[in-house]
């Protein structure tokens, strides 16, 4: 294989890695859901 093939392998890999980042972001969901939740008090947890 020549230079083009190996550079292509590298570019494809990093392209897939970028898609993997997007996929992981979908798994964990949006920020707003959790950040907006108020901090619970110790009493409410114990209850």
């Amino acid at each position: 294989m020549n230079d083009f093939a190996f550079v292509a392998i590298i570019l494809v890999f990093f392209g897939l890695a970028t898609l993997f980042v997007a996929a992981c972001d979908r798994i964990i969901g949006q920020d707003e859901d959790l950040v907006a939740t108020p901090e619970p008090s110790h009493e409410s947890i114990a209850a």
Partner: protein
């Protein structure tokens, strides 16, 4: 094992335990300025300032986890392409007194990826790399690949520690600070010590000399000491010479060998202390430390006595493996006489427990179970204590799995450092744990089916299988310690597939780790209650230890049984 062997181990343990809080405390301040101003802050700030200005980095800017991950990927993509070009064009560049030509494309790909990913698997051997390539291309990656691992670990810690935060820090700042404040000072001091002990450091071309026995010999030169320091301190492992730390110009005596062992282990263990500091709960750090430490010590105490005992096949062949005044004894095949079998065992266990991969003896010549232990060390995912940063985040992933299992046992939502571990985090944890098996076992199985790959085995039977599995295991775990049996290894199949596995082994686990950090960072902290499973106790350390052993055992036992275990049984009992 001899008294000398036990003494060396004792000194190493004392120094490691003593330096872990010192180095770890300093590292915590480097990454978390709220803990206090780290030593040398004025000097290092003066170095970092121009770097930030030239690179247009906002040192106070924060990044969400996905931006942090994309910064890591962008930096890695650009730097690997530059290294690839440098390897191809080195014949036309400066500092090349031996007039080495550019590498061929497949070897350039394999080598560039290898150093990008902190693997430092060296398929290229001696006499192919110019000094400029060594000093700028490879050494640059020795620093930044280690720093990238550290950055991911620090971002993950921030995710565990921060409350309701969208950001995990700034990749560029973490990268620069790790290089400037941790790796460079450590490498500078270590290089001076190495030179004082006889490790060479010059720009001489190779010299042809006639030995006292009348034989012609080529004496190589090169900037070795400076490379050696970061090779070990950054858990890189790529030697200046093909023989790596078995070469007398890289590792001339017992003092340099002990210093190398410390350098291999120091930063990964220190990261556990830094984790405790940043979490404001030092016991959490010591629990991780003790789990890593016991794993490392147990495996070391398997390899070293096995090598010290010797190889019954060699005894049958007439070799004298006893300890005498004139020889260290034990299985001396593939080992340096100045180090002996026990020290080789220490080195082999430590270099495969971390992502270092440097060697001071040939791992293909270890006893079957000794080689198998080195293999299993890597199969743990190198968490004992692992690479720069990667060891810590690997063990913390196991910690999340451990609290999840404990939560299932008592019927409560698992928590770690007050953060609830829920479905999204566990999906990513499982992904993290499945990826190594898919790549290692998948590619090893494919290699067994491909004639050209199979023909590279140095041995038939179970040892040949171990050679193939070892290659993919060290590649995925970015270890780079060649078992040494595959020959030729510089083939289209191995250069390409090992390159792909190294890339996957580096970035595929880091992305879920950063995602988990991002997910945990935005959560609130739940106050501990009577139902909270405590994670700063010896019980949790035991659970963590058990989880690592069980997960790795369930994943890899069949292939380990077919390789090293069968070889041991055949060798000892003829069955």
């Amino acid at each position: 094992m001899t008294l000398a062997g036990w003494s060396e181990l004792g000194v190493l343990i004392v120094v490691l335990v003593a330096t872990t809080p010192l180095l770890g405390g300093y590292m915590a301040k480097v990454y978390d300025p709220t803990l206090g101003r780290p030593r040398g802050d004025h000097l290092f700030s003066a170095i970092e300032g121009p770097i930030y200005r030239v690179c247009r980095i906002d040192p106070d800017g924060e990044q969400r986890w996905n931006t942090y991950a994309l910064s890591l990927l962008a930096f890695s993509l650009v730097s690997v392409l530059i290294l690839y070009a440098q390897l191809r064009l080195q014949g036309h560049l400066l500092l090349n007194p031996d007039h080495y030509k550019g590498m061929d494309p497949k070897l350039s790909f394999n080598t560039a990826v290898s150093f990008l990913t902190n693997t430092n698997w060296q398929a290229y051997g001696d006499g192919v790399m110019s000094y400029l390539t060594q000093m700028t291309g490879l050494a640059f990656h020795n620093f930044v690949s280690a720093a990238a691992g550290a950055a991911v670990a620090v971002a993950f810690i921030r995710g565990l520690v921060r409350r309701k935060s969208r950001s995990l820090g700034n990749f560029w700042v973490d990268l620069v600070r790790t290089c400037v404040r941790i790796l460079m000072p450590l490498a500078f001091v270590a290089a001076i010590i190495f030179m004082s002990q006889g490790v060479i450091d010059n720009f001489h071309a190779s010299r042809s000399v006639t030995t006292v026995a009348g034989q012609a010999q080529i004496i190589p030169g090169g900037p070795v000491a400076s490379q050696e320091a970061i090779k070990e301190g950054g858990q890189n492992g790529g030697g200046f010479f093909g023989a790596n730390s078995a070469h007398p110009f890289e590792n001339p005596n017992g003092i340099t060998n002990l210093l190398q062992l410390w350098l291999i282990l120091a930063i990964p263990f220190a990261f556990t202390y830094a984790f405790g500091k940043m979490a404001r709960d030092q016991k959490q750090g010591w629990v991780v430390f003790s789990t890593m430490f016991v794993l490392w010590l147990v495996m070391l105490l398997i390899v070293a006595p096995l090598e010290a005992r010797g190889n019954p096949k060699l005894t049958t062949g007439g070799a004298d493996q006893r300890v005498t005044a004139l020889q260290a004894g034990g299985n001396m095949e593939g080992k340096e006489t100045r180090f002996g079998a026990v020290t080789c065992g220490y080195y082999a266990a430590s270099t495969t427990s971390t992502s270092d991969g440097a060697i001071n003896c040939q791992h293909d010549s270890l006893t079957p179970l000794g080689g198998g232990t080195a293999l299993v060390n890597m199969m743990y995912g190198e968490v004992s204590p692992g690479g720069t940063g990667s060891g810590l985040f690997g063990m913390l992933i196991f910690a999340l799995l451990a609290v999840f299992i404990a939560g299932l046992m008592v019927g409560r939502t698992p928590e770690y450092l007050g953060k609830k571990i829920q479905g999204p985090e566990m999906k990513l944890v499982v992904l993290y744990l499945l990826l190594p098996a898919i790549f290692i076992l998948g590619f090893a199985a494919a290699a067994v089916l491909v004639h050209t790959a199979l023909n590279s085995r140095g041995n038939l039977g179970p040892h040949g299988l171990t050679e193939i599995v070892y290659a993919y295991t060290e590649a995925f775990n970015n270890n780079g310690s060649a078992f040494g049996g595959l020959s030729p290894v510089n083939t289209q199949w191995y250069d390409t597939t090992l390159g792909i596995v190294m890339l996957a082994g580096r970035f595929a686990p880091m992305i879920p780790v950063l995602a988990i950090g991002g997910s945990l960072g935005r959560k609130r902290v739940v106050p501990a209650t009577a139902g909270t499973f405590p994670t700063a106790t010896p019980l949790f350390a035991g659970l963590l230890f058990g989880v690592v052993i069980i997960v790795v055992g369930l994943t890899y036992f069949p292939v380990v049984a077919l390789g090293p275990v069968v070889e041991h049984l055949v060798g000892h009992f003829g069955i």
